[in-house]
């Protein structure tokens, strides 16, 4: 260790005992097996989240969260601010890739049963993080105040209004009144840049802390293998993570330059909802489900039942570590794999229907 570095290290060691951290990281290992690839997706999601924070802060320098100025300020960012077009395009693309990566991370964790004891809380904070990311996507989508985002938010908050009992209250809270207005924009902005980031910081902190403390989970097949291999987290796995992040960044840059995120037309609340208004792709399967559900099922309202169904599905997802009691005993129950595959097929089918099915 060079002299100066050693001096600094000693200064910290004397005060905070950082040798323990050093030892911890030196000893930390990552299991190596045929499902190793899936370990990268948590890191990719984290990397894209960091991209979001940085580009988000840069956009914050110019963005104005009022109905009169929002669209114009984003247009200003895209046309007048140096590299503003790139920052905004990266922010939009990265948001979508981050949610996509989070979905892959969730399903890979699900199929590898990494949620099993003792990582129940890691799983639950992870499910919470995905929910918050979708919340960030929903609130961020409105901020440019263009036609598509305005009406998608109108439809989205309308759906939230169908939640039993608290629905109308929830809709009013989301909209800041009866209609999508200035009040909606400012509170979506507050949620997007303050409330949700604070919550995400807490959840992410716990999530990452537990990943570090408990290490990477091994799939059931690997944990029983007597010849299992490992690699050091530092530097071997971390350098691999960096390599993947660089490649993801290259991809992100390519998308942002060749397919810049459009601004569209400024929202006009007085026009009729344009035909074919859809929410962001990650909400589409839910949106399409609600479209497919009949208006009335027996005496119940179809939409309300659909929303209750999503609530139940979300609760099952959240509490899966406690439901899958076989995994706790390190046993495999194919039922959960089947449920997972069916869920993916369902999401893919509904999303396909929303894009390419008959438009109603």
């Amino acid at each position: 260790m060079p002299k100066l570095t050693k001096k600094i290290y000693d200064w910290f060691e004397e005060r905070y005992g950082i040798a323990d951290f050093k030892d911890f990281f030196a000893k930390k290992t990552v299991p190596v097996h045929k499902h190793f690839l899936w370990y990268y997706f948590g890191g990719i999601t984290l990397f894209l989240f960091c991209v979001q924070v940085v580009t988000g802060i840069l956009l914050l320098f110019y963005y104005k969260s009022t109905v009169a100025e929002a669209f114009e300020s984003v247009k200003f960012i895209m046309t007048k601010v140096e590299f503003g077009w790139l920052i905004r395009s990266i922010h939009a693309w990265s948001a979508n890739l981050m949610i996509f990566s989070a979905f892959i991370h969730l399903f890979s964790t699900f199929f590898l049963k990494s949620y099993r004891q003792p990582r129940e809380l890691t799983w639950m904070t992870g499910v919470g993080l995905l929910g918050i990311l979708m919340g960030l996507g929903f609130t961020g989508y409105l901020l440019p105040w263009n036609e598509l985002s305005f009406f998608a938010t109108k439809v989205g908050t309308q759906i939230a209004g169908s939640v039993p009992i608290v629905g109308s209250y929830l809709r009013t809270v989301l909209r800041g009144g009866e209609e999508i207005s200035d009040a909606t924009l400012t509170r979506f902005f507050a949620f997007h840049v303050m409330v949700l980031p604070i919550v995400i910081a807490a959840f992410l902190g716990i999530h990452l802390l537990m990943v570090q403390l408990q290490g990477m989970s091994e799939p059931l097949s690997v944990s029983r293998d007597p010849n299992k291999k490992e690699m050091k987290f530092f530097p071997n796995f971390l350098l691999r993570d960096f390599l993947v992040w660089l490649l993801v960044f290259a991809g992100l840059l390519t998308l942002s330059v060749f397919f810049p995120w459009e601004l569209g037309k400024k929202a006009d609340p007085f026009t009729a909802t344009p035909v074919g208004i859809k929410p962001e792709w990650y909400f589409l399967w839910m949106f399409q489900t609600l479209k497919f559900i009949p208006a009335k099922i027996l005496a119940f309202d179809g939409e309300v039942l659909g929303i209750l169904g999503f609530g139940v599905a979300g609760a099952i997802l959240l509490f899966i570590p406690f439901i899958d009691i076989w995994s706790k005993k390190e046993k495999r129950n194919p039922l959960f794999a089947v449920i997972g595959i069916l869920a993916i097929l369902y999401i893919l089918f509904m999303t396909y229907q929303a894009y390419f099915g008959p438009q109603r």
Partner: protein, 457 residues
């Protein structure tokens, strides 16, 4: 006359009832009647009065709202085609809907089902009015403001006086039996309001109505006027707008010739006719040197270049001295006007070329995915200048046109600059992207080899 009309309405019975009802009340309030001490007699009187009261008012109430049978309509409906037609058409008639009927124009007694009684000249029956008398007959009501107010307080009542001043009216006064009278345009028995799209005088229908006489060579042979107006109008920009596009703001025959006071516009006043819509153009023309020249030479203003019934969409081709340029109609090669016309034409063509070039560059930038809304706004503004410069041609001043052209060129150049900048920016982005990707991939490659080397060790 006033009383007669009132009696003709269904209120007749109601008025009679009201009079007897008030008389009865006065009788009942007579104190002397109730001063008698004989109670039984009083009761008898009261019962009797109630009886009288009911007998008096009951029939009036019961039958007042039932309209009396109109035997004119009843009878004519049973007749053959020609005599039946008025009875069939009258139900859609605006007068009939307002409570008037056959009797109000033709006289007679519609309550009688006997032919002789109903058509008794003693009861004012006039039969079919003579064609020449029709304007006066209609005017009896339509020229009476007091009467017409009860139907519409804003209705015009000057149609008859205007008609009498019109060419039609003058010929009618001379006993011309072919000239248009009220029913020629408004129809008869099935008269509809002007705003009713089914009315023959509705704005989109009126050219056809005028043409029904004016385009009929046989009918018009006694009058020495052309019969091709409709044919020409249909080809004109105005005819296209009104008849093909249904643009109700477009002018029809009465917009220039008047309706009830229809007449040929005086040649020297034609500018005023066009100015009803093209006011700015007319103002510019009136202040131009052309105004005095036209007045002096007796050349109609707008018409001299744009024609009358066949006014075509103006193009830049009719401006100037070459090709279809109209200026050479009056200005000879060596005249000042010829030189000015050439200069104005050049100015406008230059602006057009400038806009075209800018538009190409801005479109190119947009196709490349660049945000060029500001440039497009400036481009639109420059096109506005082009339109304005075309209007200002009517000043016939190369300075004034040049000023607007300069303004338009400035905007077009600004848009061009923005478009070029956007294209440059696009190229810069591509280059920057290539460099950035090179470095990122270089770093990724280095990292890859570093990991391999590290793990080999």
């Amino acid at each position: 006359m006033e009383n007669r009309r009132l009696m003709q309405t269904s209120l007749r019975g109601a008025i009679a009832t009201k009079q007897s009802f008030s008389g009865l009340l006065r009788f009942a309030r007579n104190d002397t009647l109730f001063a008698r001490k004989d109670t039984l007699f009083n009761v008898f009187v009261l019962v009797f009065l109630h009886l009288v009261f009911f007998l008096a008012i009951f029939p009036a109430f019961a039958f007042a709202s039932v309209p009396q049978k109109d035997f004119c309509i009843e009878c004519h409906k049973t007749l053959s085609e020609a005599a039946k037609e008025p009875a069939d058409k009258i139900e859609s008639d605006v007068h009939f809907k307002r409570g008037l009927s056959c009797v109000d124009c033709h006289g007679g007694d519609p309550t009688k089902d006997d032919f002789a009684e109903a058509k008794d000249p003693a009861k004012g029956f006039i039969g079919k009015p003579k064609r020449g008398d029709i304007p006066d007959l209609c005017g009896k009501c339509h020229a009476d403001p007091a009467y017409m107010r009860r139907f519409n307080p804003n209705i015009q009542t000057d149609q008859l006086s205007k008609y009498n001043e019109s060419q039609h009216g003058k010929l009618n006064a001379q006993g011309d039996q072919k000239v248009a009278v009220c029913i020629s345009c408004h129809d008869v028995h099935g008269v509809r309001e002007v705003g009713d799209p089914q009315a023959p005088v509705f704005i989109t229908n009126i050219p056809k109505r005028c043409a029904s006489c004016h385009a009929d060579k046989e009918y018009m042979k006694d009058y020495s006027i052309p019969t091709d107006q409709m044919e020409l109008y249909e080809q004109s920009v105005h005819g296209e707008a009104l008849l093909k596009k249904g643009d109700r703001g477009a002018p029809a025959c009465p917009s220039c010739h008047g309706s009830h006071d229809a007449a040929l516009p005086r040649a020297m006043a034609v500018g005023n006719v066009c100015a009803q819509c093209h006011s700015l153009t007319r103002d510019l023309f009136a202040k131009s040197p052309h105004k005095a020249a036209h007045d002096k030479l007796g050349i109609p203003e707008c018409e001299a270049c744009h024609g009358n019934h066949k006014i075509m969409r103006t193009t830049d081709e009719i401006l100037g001295t070459k090709g279809d340029g109209l200026c050479v109609k009056c200005h000879t090669v060596d005249s000042k006007g010829y030189a000015v016309a050439t200069l104005i034409k050049t100015e406008i063509e230059t602006l057009k070329m400038d806009i075209k070039e800018s538009e190409g560059i801005v479109t190119n930038a947009e196709t490349l995915g660049m945000e060029v809304s500001d440039a497009k706004f400036d481009l639109d503004q420059s096109k506005n200048s082009l339109t304005k410069s075309r209007t200002y041609v009517h000043t016939f001043s190369k300075e004034k046109v040049g000023e607007i052209v300069k303004e338009g060129m400035g905007l077009a150049d600004k848009a061009k600059g923005q478009g070029q900048k956007a294209i440059e920016e696009f190229k810069f982005r591509r280059k920057g992207f290539a460099i950035a990707i090179f470095f990122i991939l270089f770093l990724a490659g280095a990292l890859y080899f570093k990991i391999r080397a590290m793990e080999r060790d």
